[in-house]
Symmetry: C4
Subunit: 221 residues, 4 copies
């Protein structure tokens, strides 16, 4: 029994396995988004009315593209974190499952917004869903890095902070879009459309990633 | 031919591959749960009735969250087992496929319960589904550990027992909820809602996982 | 350029990657089977008629279980083959994609049979689908093993033959069920229900797998 | 801090992880294609009308097979590229997500074409979708190989060019089919049906893959 200390860990889920579940849920959520777009069928739409029917579902397609990119942003965000996470524990696991719960809800919020793109309530549900996911992602990073709990020892505080700042920035943008939706729905929708594309852009921590340590001095913003 | 003993094993599925199929089925089942929630559409629900329509699907959303967490619990439960399983055989494989059959049925039972949250029959189907999955999970552990069949040699009987006890405890909770559903549906539903969250909590075997062998004396409960 | 011979292979897909796509398609096909079962909803089925509505979908549930096990058999069959396959080429890849095409069609054939469990045409479509998948699986093995094309060198002809025989046996059973369906639909359906469970049982090559080389003499049947 | 240069890379997604998301999206898109085929049900189609109902969905099945093979071609195309790609960066990641966006749209374009197989607009949407995906795949290769950005150093310019030429050839075929669709819909549909099968065939770079360096002289076309 004295040799059993290593193999007797009952709860030692490897981060890579949690990541596999995450990849699966993201891939599925991204792909089933499209199932919520109403495909016109000959039963209700005769061929000559097809152009009008497609114009009719244009908002759904737009919202679908927006959600796809947003899920992409959230996937990239989580994966970047996994790059540094080397251990997992029970609470971490459940933060992940809570994150996935919000991710898997996105297709529903997207369908709703596709149907009612300018309704305050639909924008509210959509915004709360994305904001919630972003905040859980912040918690995910916070939990993993606090006191170096689940990360590699050599991770510098600067990287921790930069990553945290980026997530908080995204959360702030979603919160603003959410508030704006309640005042001027069309402006809120426009902001929701812009946020993911801003997130695609490189950010402060990127330069010294590509160029290595020598670029470390210029990562202020 | 004398060298062929190793490479001629025809049925030697590695546990990691079975786990990959399991991850896939869990990820999909968790993500398609949401497809069963009825999204209001402008054809039947004019914008001004949207709040009422969303209140109307609230039970479906609640049941969806409950099922998501339950699937999370069952996923974690199985993955914890895989941490110790180092071999697979034909029967083990089919126990897994039986497990996945029950997992893939959860979206249907969830949809039914979402539509009829206080109907005895819907609660019964839901409860039998979850109870069945939990019992197959117990069988899975039983089969893998009996006589050390598929597990690492160094696995202590204490861990085997603690894990077994936890699964049996969950099965007992589901069984109680099932019985309660038949008597007082709303109480049964409430218990179903509580069980997954209790499962999220750490349990007896956790402390000595984090702290290593020196915590081994305190894992009585 | 003389050093480029290894890294310039443009088409060298590793079998493990093809297997990953296969696992994905199988996991999804198995999990979306359930989406084709008609869940009764309060719009059309008042609570007091729920028992009758569930009895009404019982054939769909039965066919779903049958298809799930059949997909399990086909997944196990292919994975057992991958245990020996160490290379992939272009034709092998496309045999796989053809196989997956038939696998992804199973949910449709299952839905059809669930609706019309005793119709010759529905049984015919179902049977052709499963028989086709089994024959492509035989081709898959044939192609991989002919002249040792894609398998490890040490693979004995006996294993090749035993595996081949098993697949051909399954194909024969499906073919019989298909013919029987056209004569006596209910008997054909019954045979379709039995075949997957027979496939779950161990077969000739199993004993000497568990016990190693010393069991090699008894693997005749 | 001087030792932190390696572990502080914040954006160093490994290509294998991106590939895992791609495999997931492809597997799902391929498998949910079938969900868009209208399965006849006893509510609207009495058993004796089943043959007619199946003939009625024949175009949907045909288009489904075509899309499945096309997705197979696009999957193989991307995976062949991954064989050479050893690094990933932020832009590469987003090119991938853009690619997946187009892939996940294929089920919708397929459903539309299945309903309206000879309508110019449906053929146009389908063609633009496939052409777009192919062009993004070309960009993917272009971006990864330009100046050896993300590929192994030893990759010869000849392989880069051959792969590029193949993708451009496919794009040209889709573009032709697209134009043809607008003039003679049935001819455009026929060409869409042929393209994927042509892509299944081996091409110029294949021979010297199988036979190694000595076949290098004969890979002109």
């Amino acid at each position: 029994m004295p040799d059993g200390s290593g193999s007797e860990r009952f709860d030692a889920l490897k981060p890579s396995r949690v990541a596999a579940l995450c990849d699966g849920v993201f891939a599925i959520a991204m792909t089933i988004l499209v199932l919520n777009i109403t495909v016109p069928s000959p039963r209700t739409v005769p061929p000559e009315q097809l152009p009008g029917a497609l114009r009719h579902i244009a908002p759904q397609v737009l919202v679908y593209v927006m959600s796809f990119i947003n899920l992409g942003v959230l996937w990239v965000g989580q994966h970047n974190q996994y790059h540094f996470i080397v251990r997992a524990d029970r609470w971490f696991l459940w933060i992940n499952i809570g994150y996935l719960l919000l991710i898997s809800f996105v297709p529903l919020a997207t369908a709703l917004l596709g149907y009612y793109p300018l309704e305050r309530l639909a924008l509210f549900v959509y915004g709360v869903n994305l904001l919630g996911a972003t905040l859980v992602l912040a918690l995910h990073w916070q939990y993993a890095t606090a006191g170096g709990r689940l990360v590699a020892r050599r991770l510098s505080p600067k990287v921790v902070q930069l990553a945290h700042r980026r997530i908080v920035g995204t959360a702030g943008a979603f919160f603003t879009a959410l508030l704006l939706s309640l005042l001027v729905p069309v402006a809120g929708l426009a902001l929701f459309l812009v946020v993911p594309f801003v997130n695609v852009l490189p950010f402060g921590v990127d330069p010294h990633l590509r160029h290595g340590p020598e670029g470390r001095d210029q990562d202020g913003g």
